[in-house]
């Protein structure tokens, strides 16, 4: 931009006040997208997000209805309310997409994530790791004399908190599944 000598913040020519009537508050939404389980459908969804510059915080996908050939993609995304609406409308345009649900606005929902956490250490640190795991209801799914692999489930925030605590105690590897979410009630 420099060769054109564009002054920062010059208001007269501001073409970048692009969305004057839209709010610029960032929101975090969890979307559940039911899709036909066919090749390329995940690429379509991901391509939409990258092509249009939307954020993906977490994305999980698995078949949920074998007979009906349906998969469920759970996406956690952030954006202004207008961008979130666009994301939903754009997802709805994808031909193999059957339904798009915004769990964040469609009433209460539960969100869970699973993580495997490998912690290595000896002595006090090892004991402390085990004690904290107990508080977080993490299970030991593998252990050697110098390491544990914990399995923990919960909200993404709970997993963040657990990982933060394990870091000084010798966290060496972390694998997370991403968020799965369902609306509450029937």
């Amino acid at each position: 931009m420099s060769p054109l000598h564009i002054k920062k913040g010059s208001s007269k020519h501001s073409a970048y006040n692009l969305r004057p009537s839209f709010s610029d508050v960032q929101e975090r939404h969890t979307l559940a997208v039911l899709v036909e389980n066919e090749p390329g459908v995940l690429a379509r969804v991901i391509g939409l997000f990258s092509g249009r510059g939307y954020n993906i915080e977490s994305l999980t996908v698995a078949e949920v209805d074998h007979e009906g050939h349906l998969s469920r993609i759970t996406i956690v995304t952030t954006g202004t309310p207008q961008v979130i609406e666009q994301i939903k409308a754009q997802l709805g345009r994808i031909v193999p997409v059957h339904e798009v649900h915004d769990l964040t606005v469609e009433g209460a929902s539960v969100e869970r994530e699973l993580a495997l956490v490998k912690v290595s250490g000896k002595g006090d640190k090892r004991v402390e790791a085990l004690r904290l795991a107990d508080i977080f209801r993490a299970h030991v799914v593998d252990s050697t004399l110098e390491s544990f692999v914990f399995q923990i489930t919960g909200t993404p925030e709970k997993i963040d908190a657990f990982a933060d605590l394990m870091r000084p105690l010798g966290l060496i590897e972390l694998a997370r599944t991403g968020v799965a979410a369902l609306s509450r009630g029937s």
């Binding site: 931009m1 054109l4 564009i6 002054k7 010059s10 007269k12 020519h13 501001s14 073409a15 970048y16 006040n17 692009l18 969305r19 004057p20 009537s21 839209f22 090749p39 390329g40 690429a43 379509r44 391509g47 092509g51 207008q82 609406e85 666009q86 409308a89 754009q90 709805g92 345009r93 994808i94 031909v95 193999p96 059957h98």
Partner: protein, 584 residues
């Protein structure tokens, strides 16, 4: 009766069942079995283009001038990649196209085989949907579904990639289903509560304007008919995007002309000053809105669109109506009539007085010259000499395109083919071929710039081979005129690479292909040259040498609102500064 046949035969059978009689294409190794089937039948006529990009543009011209989907058949690898520009063009302008591509056999996919490309991967973002068919069992059903997806809801291009072994193998043919059981069924009826809100707003509005777009054309002739009735009955002014020209007749008394970056003064000021904007099948494109925070600041906005993602994408809408234009217009018109056909008569009279003031500016006036042909004059004469004929107009992209939109009058839908969303130089010539194929007896003219035209000039071969009497009306300014204009307005008159150097002799070029060439540079000869062009029974290239430094006005500079229009050269040089300069 279940019929077993090869995949290649299925392709031809499925096309027949879909009512296809025309295919634009180019053969190659991976589609030879399908070409072999085409050879052995007479229902489908295949037009051999000279480049796959042109096949898609020809299909677009065919589709836009008929309302039917255009069909393309090309080979794998380079055949498919050459089609990408056409697919993107059709996606941006919502044109129904079905492209069939050959692919290497399934057992070689992924091995970097000869002429292998990941066609569905490459075309995923530039199609409405695409399919790789790995099993002959699925082939016919997939082709039927492809037609359904291309033509329903917001139309668009689709692609079916067919490996060669799938073409050779046999399976049971599935006929065209009566109803598509799949979930893909876009909503066509608008929400009645919203339609009522629109009608209520229309009854009260003091300064209403209809802002219509390509969606009206895509919805079909009934939509244009209803729109005309609604405009006549309410007496509201109407403007349209580049894509929507012809939905309302240019001779209609409520017509304000095209709006947008090179739209008419009265149209843009009406958009800026209105209190009710009724957007029907347009998408608030950046060529239309200009600077968003100053776009039509005082209006309530209604938006009718079949695609929910168009609503609130860039402009906040007060009355959103998701549905097909014809359905929504019919419901709205009926409701408005049943509520007593009310409008704000006083407000409207005042509004028209204001519009008439703006009209007096006569923003399209230009000074004709005795010595050189002004491009505006050339288009105005073309209009005068072809008006009233069974006429279809295509364009390339650049200044000539805008002059064609400004100075030609379109009385009916489906008569105007131009690359709007993508702005694809090289679109017009092949599109004119597709139009002429669909309307053999009509007068089909491509208003072209010399630079754009050269991008697909190889199609002269196609025009000659099939005796398609397309008229190539080239406004030759020996410049990339639109680029030159921007360099003048934006880059201190430094004309970096915007000359068309080493141009061919277009008359000789025409003759080399076996067509007629006409040269004209004197305003006195212009009418005769145009008449000679339209009267010649065969393809013609008319090289019309025009004023080289003419600029296209009115113009809303990038980053400015509608009421900051430039009307003439006087104020134009270096007119775009500041942040507007980074916009295209």
């Amino acid at each position: 009766m279940a019929q077993t046949m090869t995949g290649a035969k299925m392709v031809v059978q499925a096309l027949k069942d879909q009512g296809v009689d025309t295919v634009f294409g180019y053969p190659g190794g991976a589609v030879l079995p399908i070409y072999d089937e085409l050879f052995q039948q007479e229902h489908i006529r295949h037009y051999l283009v000279r480049h796959e990009q042109a096949a898609v543009h020809a299909a677009e011209g065919y589709a836009r001038s008929t309302g039917k989907p255009g069909v393309v058949l090309v080979t794998s690898g380079p055949g498919a990649t050459n089609a990408v520009t056409g697919l993107t063009d059709a996606l941006m302008d919502s044109i129904p196209i079905v492209v069939l591509t050959g692919q290497v056999p399934t057992f070689m996919i992924g091995s970097d085989a000869f002429q292998e490309a990941d066609t569905v991967g490459i075309t995923r973002p530039c199609t409405k949907h695409n399919w790789l068919v790995k099993d002959t069992d699925r082939l016919s059903a997939t082709i039927h579904e492809a037609f359904h997806v291309a033509t329903s809801g917001r139309p668009g291009p689709v692609l079916v990639d067919i490996p060669k072994d799938v073409q050779f193998a046999s399976a049971i043919y599935q006929p065209k289903p009566k109803t598509i059981a799949r979930h893909y069924a876009p909503q066509v009826k608008g929400d009645m509560a919203q339609i009522e809100a629109l009608v209520a707003a229309m009854e009260k509005a003091e300064r209403p304007v209809f802002y219509t777009g390509g969606g009206v054309i895509n919805s079909g002739p009934a939509a244009s008919q209803l729109l005309r009735e609604f405009v006549e009955a309410t007496g509201f002014p109407i403007t349209s995007t580049l894509m929507g020209l012809g939905a309302y007749p240019a001779s209609g008394k409520h017509w304000l002309g095209m709006l947008g970056m090179h739209g008419l003064y009265e149209a843009n000021l009406a958009m800026h000053g209105c209190d009710l904007m009724i957007n029907i099948g347009a998408r608030f494109d950046d060529r239309i809105t200009g600077r968003l925070d100053a776009f039509s600041p005082k209006s309530k906005k209604a938006h009718v669109d079949i695609d929910p993602s168009s609503i609130n994408k860039v402009i906040k809408t007060d009355i959103p109506i998701i549905g097909d234009v014809a359905h929504v217009l019919e419901d709205a018109l009926n409701l408005w009539k049943s509520r007593g056909r009310r409008v704000n008569t006083d407000g409207l009279a005042k509004w028209w007085r204001q519009i008439d003031e703006w009209r007096k500016v006569d923003c399209l006036k230009f000074k004709a010259s005795e010595s050189t042909i002004k491009p505006q004059h050339a288009v105005a004469r073309l209009e005068a000499l072809t008006k009233g004929r069974d006429r279809y107009i295509c364009t390339e992209v650049g200044q000539h395109q805008m002059w064609a939109a400004q100075y030609l009058g379109f009385e009916d839908p489906n008569r105007w083919m131009t690359s709007g969303g993508l702005g694809t130089m090289g679109y017009g010539f092949p599109a004119s071929i597709g139009v002429q194929v669909a309307h053999p007896d009509a007068l089909v003219i491509n208003v072209a710039g010399e630079a754009s035209w050269l991008m697909n000039m190889q199609e002269m071969g196609t025009a000659i081979q099939y005796r398609l009497p397309v008229k190539q009306f080239i406004l030759n300014n020996e410049r990339l005129g639109m680029v030159r204009q921007w360099q003048q307005l934006l880059h201190g008159e430094r004309y970096s690479h915007s000359w068309s150097e080493a141009l061919p002799d277009f008359v000789k070029l025409a003759e080399a292909f076996g067509a007629k060439g006409i040269f004209c540079s004197d305003p006195k000869d212009l009418d005769d040259a145009i008449m000679e062009m339209i009267e010649h029974d065969g393809p013609v290239i008319m090289d019309c040498l025009v004023e080289k430094h003419e600029n296209c006005f009115p113009m809303i500079p990038s980053g400015e609102p509608h009421n900051k229009m430039l009307l003439s050269d006087a104020k134009a040089t270096n007119a775009i500064a500041g942040k507007g300069a980074v916009l295209v």
